[in-house]
């Protein structure tokens, strides 16, 4: 039975396309927050389940992906609540600034560390990752697949050709088209 027959509401949800269209995007979002691929994968799966179960509540005010991201955010929060439910096991990570000669005011130094660009870089890289995934999702299916296999998963040209039944010339034409489209898609904000 088609997923869409059973669950699709009048507001254009297409659950049968969720995995192809949004799984990588949601996974990237989740893995940036939980730093664990397996947990991130489970959270994405749970997000899809929750999406299916609450499809009738989808009013179409937000785009489908935005709606799924909102569900995933709650899943991430639930995940941290769960692992921190035993207070003694909560983990706090602090990067101590070992270059400082000053003594005493160490906590204040950590709060406003003028030498660290870490937080901004992490945020910017995460935003960049989501922007790239969004652009990849707009590519034709085969270009998206070839680009992902080659660039994100680092699979060899030979293995991709064998798996997809194409020759290297076809592969490079698809990579070229995908990269050209991505440059156009990312152009406004990132070039």
């Amino acid at each position: 039975m088609e997923l869409s027959n059973n669950r699709m509401t009048m507001h254009q949800l297409n659950p049968e396309k969720w995995v192809d269209q949004y799984a990588d995007y949601l996974f990237n979002y989740a893995v940036a927050r939980v730093s664990d691929g397996e947990i991130a994968k489970d959270l994405v799966q749970e997000t899809f389940f929750a999406g299916l179960n609450s499809a009738k509540n989808y009013k179409g005010d937000a785009a489908e992906r935005t709606w799924l991201i909102a569900i995933l955010k709650r899943k991430v929060i639930d995940h941290y609540r769960k692992i921190n439910s035993n207070k003694g096991k909560a983990e706090v990570r602090i990067n101590y600034n070992t270059n400082s000669d000053s003594e005493g005011d160490w906590l204040e130094e950590q709060v406003a560390d003028p030498f660290s660009k870490l937080e901004n870089d992490v945020l910017e890289n995460e935003e960049l990752g989501l922007a790239i995934h969004e652009c990849i999702s707009k590519l034709p299916k085969k270009q998206s697949l070839v680009f992902t296999m080659k660039t994100i998963k680092g699979i060899s040209t030979e293995d991709i050709c064998n798996e997809l039944g194409i020759n290297p010339s076809n592969l490079w034409v698809m990579i070229h088209r995908a990269r050209t489209a991505l440059m156009g898609c990312l152009n406004q904000n990132w070039f």
Partner: protein, 76 residues
């Protein structure tokens, strides 16, 4: 030694993955000296590679996606 714009761009893409031969890279370099468009494309292509590296892109395998689809169907 002379190549078309399309061929130059494809070599440029191969070079991003370290898969252009020495001969191909030479042909590309020569082409870039007289083609402003290809030079611009090459610059952007290199920038795209840097962006992809900086973003630490991660994705699910096709197998994992298939498994997700199966579970979604079961859950439905």
């Amino acid at each position: 030694m002379i190549i078309s714009h399309d061929e130059a761009r494809i070599i440029c893409c191969k070079a991003q993955y370290g898969e252009a031969s020495l001969w191909e890279r030479l042909k590309l370099k020569l082409h870039i000296t007289f083609s402003k468009n290809t030079a611009e494309f090459s610059k952007k292509n290199t920038k795209l590679s840097t962006l992809c590296d900086n973003a630490y892109l991660q994705g699910l395998t096709e197998k994992e996606k298939q498994a997700m689809k199966e579970k979604l169907k079961e859950n439905n």
